[in-house]
Amino acid sequence: MRYMLDPESRQAPSVCATHCPYCSLQCGMHLHSIDSVTWTVGSREFPTNRGGLCQKGWSAAELLSHPDRLTAPLLRERRSEPLRRATWEEALERVRASIESTQQRHGRDAVGVFGGGSLTNEKAYLLGKFARVALRTSQIDYNGRFCMSSAAAANLKAFGIDRGLPFPLSDIPHAQTVLLVGSNLSETMPPVMQYFQEQKARGGALIVVDPRATATSATATLHLQITPGTDAALANGLLYIAMKESYLDPDFIAQRTQDFELARRTASSYWPARVERITGISERELQRAGKLLGEARTAMILTSRGPEQQSNGVQNVLAFINLALALGKAGKPYCGYGCITGQGNGQGGREHGQKADQLPGYRRLDHPPDRAHIAQVWGIDESDLPTPGHSAYEMLDSMGTEGGVRALLVFGSNMAISAPRAGHIEERLYALDFLMVSDFFLSETAARADVVLPAAQWAEEEGTMTNLEGRVLLRQKAAEPPIGVRTDLQVLAELAGRLGCGGKFPCEAPAVFEELRRATAGGAADYSGITYERIRREDGVFWPCPSENHGGTPRMFLDRFATPDGRARFHAAEFLPAAEEPDGDYPLYLTTGRIMAQYQSGTQTRRLPSLMQSAPESFVQIHPSMARTYGVTDGEWVRLTTRRGTALVRAKLSAAIRMDTLFVPFHFPGSGRANLLTNPALDPVSKMPEFKVCAVRLDKEQQC
């Protein structure tokens, strides 16, 4: 039955300046209200997107009045029963009861909280506080683990702080050479390409590293079609060439870094012939790339999920950071290493306490002074703060097991699709005693829940986001949520109240942000100088911003790095083969990723006809020659099998991919789910699962 929106409930301003709901570019957009229930997206000049928007952005307004919107809580008494509509009272009472009984029977840590990188800073903050103050559990983490955690860890090791880009996007055109590793921006973040076009127009060079030829690599000066999982070998190989051709910057190394010897010794056994054999990139191309980087006056190295989503992800990123440092291309104007964050608030989401080991403002849960500060802000006894808990995959893997999480509260995440080895995670979800999901659509995960809470959407509530540049920006409210829908902030405050912590939890975004400012004051990610008013006035403010008369920090590290002694650190970043390499049984590489018309687990994008029409179903990209070897033709159904599971997808023949590699997008549900196949091997430091490479077998599927 189609739910009709109540016209009365929506008095929206005729036009509202806000931001796109999707990726970390957070393009500015205008929402024009056509009538009380329909909106259209209009272009808005904003520093990140300069008026441009991609297909997802243009169609975003369709989400607001989508017939699938959840507008009442759903619950079921028994797993056997279907979900039924319920009152908020019923639903919240059920949640409270389940939390209390679970914690009584199995202890506080038996209740887990799972957040997401698309939640506003206010939500991320309040969620972390809710877990530690209201639930007093150590078990909280978020899907950002599956996104930026490797780069985050590497950034901390090398620079002492983790901000995706240490410079504004507008610096990119001034870099003579940009090395873009494992990123397909033309499809995943189209408007950002303006900066690369400008960079090219100014005579700059763009090197793209990707196992696939993509719309992005098509614009590149040089495309290095790397073997999946060999990024560290490439980085060390380029450093080797830099050493050999004396492209290094000895003064920079001497004055602003530590431990170059570690990097030098590691790199010295990556001579071109060897690197060619590992990466499949010819010596000639390696030399050319080395020259482009080495001779550039200004250069940037940007990584994305490609090198990061690997069991060697942190080392991979560190190897590229070594390269940037050795060339003296960091902590200077128009130079630097940067990570292209993925999710809308992937940056802010990892700064304010959603992470198992973190407190707001990048404070650390295992660092007494940090604990003390936060305890004081939260008005609790420091000893009541839990200790660091398990990381995302570990927590999900423990669900329903002895000593594991027995009840899980999920906010804005769809692990049934996005977690690695999703088939297994699905089983774990069933094993839970209790599952609560807050979302605005009935996602694959929500469909398995005992209680589903209908949440407000991006344009229906105020809140701040921190984009890939570290620019804190304000999503203004364009519309009232439909009747029956509540914001996550309201839900958290309400639940906290029922759990006996009433009063500690403001439920209005501005109030939460004020508290967040105090909590982050003096921390690494210091927001204390940022106000909604400033954000409106200044088109966003870059953290750290310690006081209201501080201008914010668009460019970091110009004088010193954020390490105790102000020097950046080199590391011995060895190449390690992927946890699973092709062999006789599983002879090909499998890599996964995103495509233009879909976003993450597709909860939003798969509901929009315009987008589904461009990208209707899952597929596997395979090289025509390899397809012929297997007797597979274009559009035919094939069965992909790994040691984790099997997926059915259509073959899409394309010479744009390496002959030994298959690519499957991860947005799609059911039997086409890429993550039925992926390998949960974790990076020892960041706990990032190895989404980007595993060994796979391909068989023709007979009837389908």
Partner: protein, 814 residues
Amino acid sequence: MTENKRKLVVIGNGMAGARTVEEILARGGGSLFDITMFGDEPTGNYNRILLSNVLNGSYREDEIFLNPLEWYRQNGIRLLAGTRAAGILRRARLVYAENGTPEPYDKLIIATGSRPFLPTMEGIKMPDGKFKPGVFVFRTLEDCRGIAAYAQGKKSAAVIGGGLLGLEAARGLQNFGLEVNVVHLGGHLMPQQLDPSAGAILKTSMENLGVKVLLKKNTTAILGQDRVLGLRFSDGHTLECDMVVISAGIKANWEIAAGCGLPIERGILVDDQMRTDDRDIYAVGECAQHRGVTYGLVAPLWEQAKVLADYITERNRHAAYHGSKTATKLKVMGVEVASMGIVEPRDPEDEVVQFCEPKRGTYKKLIIREGRLVGGILLGDISKAAYLMQAFDRNTPLPEERLQLLFDIGDPPKQVTFEEMNAATQICNCNGVSKGTIVACVKNGKRSGKAVMDATRAGMGCGSCKAMVNDIVAWACGGETEEDASVHYYVPGVPLTKTELIRAIQERGLRSVSAVFDYLAGGKEDAASKPGLASLLKTLWHDEYEDELDARFINERIHANIQKDGTFSVVPQIPGGITNPAQLRRIADVAERYHVPLIKLTGGQRIDLLGLRKEDLPNVWRDLDMPSGYAYGKSYRTCKSCVGSDFCRFGLGDSISLALRIEREFQGIDSPHKMKLATAGCPRNCSEAMVKDLGAVAVEGGKWEIYIGGAAGSSVRKGDVLGTVNSENDVLLFMGRFIQYYRENAKYLERTHGFVRRLGIDKIRAVVMEDSEGIAERLDREIASSKAAYKDPWKTAWPEPGENRFSSLLPVLS
């Protein structure tokens, strides 16, 4: 907790020994073991693979060190450098050095590596057991230094052994300017890596490069009493040479193991955990023999080191070494060689794919078993090596087109073709238009780039995607976009593209517009085409151009700018906006004398006198006594400038002097459309140089950034950087070259921004900055002659007596 650490002794600190210790440390072995290492060589561990590069001078010695001495200190390793381990007492569990000092162990790793094999022949050594002066092996840094030193001033050298290392030694020796002979016992070179045919081709290639190769030669003696004078062979022949490098293969150093009774064959026998049959003694690297194989390459010993480390640190008790796939890739005197696995088929089922082109020194051979690569040889052309070696290493299934394995056919394109491009792929980022939308739009009948852009908003933003939109439209129309051929004509009245037209004009020597119509348009005049042709002819013929005023737009006939009421405006030349009192006085006088209704400062930093009568123009020129500013022409207009470095506190470069030089250089140059220029003394761009047809912006370090294709008129566009140059002269050179290229290639009335977008900055940069088409010199010549042909019209275009060009009304006779 040192006390309960176990003692780990490693004999040998070569690549195997040191690497194994590194791997052990990487697995936390530092807290498990006290580590002591014996090393023959007094130095740290260096990369033997690169020795030949040291010999041939492409590496410095210090560049090849993997573990300098401080590394051992940092990691708390006792390195007994230069101390040879003499023996092992297994029962006592200790190793003793040559000087007798004992070194107890709990675990022992033998990594003694190998040494050069010396064939039996007379005269290798002197009575004292040392090598005869001039005799060398090629194994250590010491050997390298020795060879390099001895080679000084010598004429010829012989290398005994035509294997990989031997040939590398030969390369090194040749670099010292010696005449080199390679003496090889077997029937073909590099028997480990090549088959006879490949060996034969390599031999020829090497001989072409001046290295003599003697095959099937068994050296029986090294001649010379106290130093090398030559070689004698079993067939009785001799060869004169001043030095000899023996590289006849390697021999595992197993003696110390044999001495304590460990089983030996060609090397020390080890199991899959690299253990000898003594559970506490391991062997790794070239001294070890695993499953009947000893390895002389680096990759295998690193794999062995990993396994050994996993096992000994108990990080992984199941770690097992299953042997290595060996492959080599090297350049022997410019000849590229890649080889992997077996060189001859072994199994009757083995499939052999072969390509042989001896003349070009190219040879390719692959051995395929069950659809997988088990062996291969590439000689001369190794472009496929990267792919093949990976397919070999990883056992990847091979494509059925075997041809693809040998040649770059159907390799992944570096660009996605439009067919492959996902329909959802964003073409226009600004307006979010996908390839699919554009194709659909074409299907709905919009069959020209412009029509599609109007309909979809594609390219209407930053415009950077316009070229691509056009390409996609062309592709979607199957190449048949509906724009009639005439859009490609230079002018509508002459059915030729600009290139064709230029060729025709030059072939026929047509110097006037009427001539062009007569010869190229069937005598049919076309009014609209005249100015375009006139401009082109002037560009081509300079002062040989036969001017016909009727072909010129009125402005160029009378060198003033016609106004809406039929009066004219006059703009004298004021280069760079620099003027002086005298000029200003003259201008003021003229304005009064001829009742100029409006005096206006122009955007080009000049002074415009508007509303003059045609009749008065010549007198105005005379009274102004200033050159024409060409404010009316399809030509170089002016070059504005900022204050530059003289007065401005930000100025980096002298924008004024450059502007003056530019004006002198290009004044009056005709072009397809007007050209407005500017120079800016710093990137603050006060003079708006970045949005001019051509602009020069001073940047740090006395350099100038040259911008082209900027526009700030009806369309607004920031110019593209043509390049950054070091001097004003270079600015003039490259600007001139671009202007001439623009004059020759732009459509008439195509501004530079359209031109630059149409051709693409990359293309233009290649032509102008890198001379990719080899026409730079000609372009420079042409623009120079245009400059030479410049005449100030206000001095030269005065009316002849009786001429009525400037009369707006003629008297009637009767």
